[in-house]
Amino acid sequence: MTTLSTDELDFGDGGPEVQHEGSWYDTVAKAVAHLVLLFFSAVMTIPFVWAFLTSLKPENKIFTTIRQIIPADPTFANYVNVWMQNPLDRWILNSLVLAVGVVFFTLLLDTLAGYALAKGDFKGKSLVYTLVIGTLVIPPQVVLVPLYLEMNALNWSNTYWAIMVLYIANPFGTFMMRQFFLGIPDSLIEAARMDGCSTFQIYTRVMLPLAKPALSSLGVFTFIFVWGAFLWPLVILNDSSMYPLQVGIGLLTGRYSSQWGQLLAAVVIAALPVIAAYLLAQRTFMEGIALTGGKG
């Protein structure tokens, strides 16, 4: 997992046909594989389908029609109710602000820092690199208490910035981009220098265009990560108008403890954007995890 190239990941392409054993044994093996995969696919998707079907049932009929899997008279009443009673739209916007901000600044700062660490020639480079590697092992939970005090002292506690800084500071992207840029030949940079490019121009004209595949992987991974963030926003925010979607929905459980129809409607609303994006760009999502899985 130390190679950071996307070449290895060719999902679904044929690969070499080396299984020309053609016996009945082979056929049976394939059938069993299909069965197992089908079983796991079902296990992974049924909970979502089940939640969706429940959310379509009228609230007062959920418990009486529990044996009836497909709702007899599907209704969107739960969706309307939960949308009217809760600022879901604002929470979605908050989540988008945080996700876009963190992804953008992560990509920007990490490519800059990764570029400097891979190709730069300046005093203190190894010190900075040690800092990156060192902070890589700090679990984010450890810094929460001091960061909470720090943000309160700055009077930033109910702002987008307070949430974003923790995720933008994550050293993983810097490490990943450094590894990526190390693989780019120095001759290209020297050619660009001969062309009169400054250090920063080389960044925008040579480094960024080459880093596109790595950027999309890192971007998607960061997006999933921030979209699902829970503990830090929960701790630092106390104004419900600033909640990201996950925190808002997570705190609904108390209010809707037995109104499952509305709770699950909120869940479907919250899950849908990411699932839709995932269905459109499945490959990018998987590469994002495969190449960046080390972040944990």
Partner: protein, 75 residues
């Protein structure tokens, strides 16, 4: 960094109920500017339609956030 900058940033980063989400608009705008610059000015990027449309979408999001208070806060 001027001492007034941090409190000002703090104010921008917060938006109460039914207030324009200025900080959010700012974030979307900066991201849109970055993406649009890369996709339309820097032709080395060889930007595909996803990047171009994404940049315009971000610009739209910035407007949406700035003109946010569109419905009464639910109770």
């Amino acid at each position: 960094m001027a001492p007034w900058l941090l409190p000002l940033a703090g104010k921008l980063g917060y938006a109460g109920k039914n207030e324009p989400v200025v900080g959010g608009a700012l974030v979307f705008f900066v991201a849109a500017a970055g993406v649009l610059y890369l996709s339309f000015v820097r032709d080395e990027m060889d930007a595909g339609p996803v990047m171009k449309i994404g940049g315009l979408l971000l610009l739209g999001m910035a407007l949406l956030a700035f003109f946010w208070p569109m419905r009464p806060w639910p109770h």
